[in-house]
Amino acid sequence: MIKEFIRKRSIHVCLVCTGGCNGCDIEVAALLSQRYDLEQYGIYYHNNPRESDALLVTGTVAKQWQEKLVEFYNKVPEPKAVVAIGACALSGGIFQQESDKVGAPVSDVIPVDAEVPGCPPRPAEIAIAVLKYVPPTLASYRRKI
């Protein structure tokens, strides 16, 4: 009970970049600045899957990532949530053209809970998506048997 209450107010996120143009990543990095100040909303940003509640996935899933992303997802402790950021992660965007170089969308590889469209989305849109969709997903998470 207390655990659930607290978990709603402190979300640890881990950023995984699976091969885009870096645009979405620097927009996530911009959230760290004082102007947006991600930590005032209780979101803590670091790059360790074993400590995090939510994965932020950006980029087209490049060939090397197709198996590793699943491994990576399995390392996140339950309950967990996945937010796909940017056009590349949602559909492959500009790179999904007559080529088998990319394995987009991310939802083919791991289950995705929230999607943020845009190329790239503004930092405010990312923060809103994380705050709005990650706590209910974590609350209603069912362990897979």
């Binding site: 091969g19 885009g20 870096n22 760290l32 490049a62 090397q64 500009i94 790179f95 170089k101």
Partner: protein
Amino acid sequence: MSYVPIGPIHPGLKEPLRIKLKTEGERVVDAEVDLGYFYRGAEQLARGKPWQKVAYLAERVCGICSDAHPHTLIEGLERIVDCEPPLRAQFSRVIMGELNRIHSHLIANAIWFLAVEHETLGIYNLNTREKVMDLLEMISGNRVLYSWNIVGGVRMDFKESHLKKILDNLAEVESEVYRYRKMFKTGALLGLRSKDIGKMTKEEAIEVRAVGPTARGSGIKFDWRTKHPTYVDHFDFKPIWRDECDNYARVMMRFDEILESIKIVKKAVDELPDGPIRKECEIPRGSVDYRYEAPRGELAYIFETAKHGIIKEITIRTPTIMNLEACVRYMFKDSPTIADAIAIYQTIDPCIACTERVVIVDENGNRQDFRGVHTVLRNLKPFKSKKKDR
């Protein structure tokens, strides 16, 4: 003797990449870099497409130097037609390019400060960068990917209110960058983490063909902007360089370049000429090799067009591939701790998204597609240094 793998996901790295360090105790003796986590096949996609679409694709090769890529492609296309854009368009390209450079250098320094765990300066730099990002979004309509350049000029015009806001925000940025520069210069702990670490001498820099701020931090006085016609004709531009050859020099270089860029933008805004911002150009058959100074160094677009401006063949050479080799071969050597190795890696301002378009070419010149093979830079033979006008 032990091996320490870093990456592909690591708190110190902002982009997936694998560094394998060979260590004796804490001292690094050898290093390998494995790439291949970012491959998208941008050059293959560009072939057989009209230039209008390729410009959008070039923008998305890298999201941080996203003005430099279309800028190089489009000025290259203009060289084929021999069509010079109007003066106002040239000046607005300079303004956009320099603003892009300021934001890129600020984020590079911020990431370096975060890598040495100096969070105050890191977050300060990120916050100052927001002021530049506001300008970019106000002018072009997007924070990261601007779609600003087009053959024959630029897409949209500046308004009076925009020019005023550029000067206001840049005055703030300038005063704050002076402050950070002083903090970095006088900070004793920062000095311990930066001075005499990651040394690369001038001769070594020439041998591995290091480019951009990495080379200029080692005493090479070369900048492609000194050969750009707009800079030569209208701006009194001189390359900035330092001869300390270490981490301190490279971080300081970026602060100095930001101040220089602010000067250029101020001059461009003051002297912005009136007139049209676009001109009609029809692109014929031809080929070109055009280079431009991206925030990270020399960026080359070598391509061939067919009739109606369709790209037949294109090769992009990005600065990070040379800088990464310089980093692995010379800077990592005798790095005192593993924590310093990550700080050294961040000083070359690596952009892996730019770099990963690898096409393997064998001895007979046959091209193979990239199949996710690890590229080990140390196994490549060193380039023989040729005399070049540097």
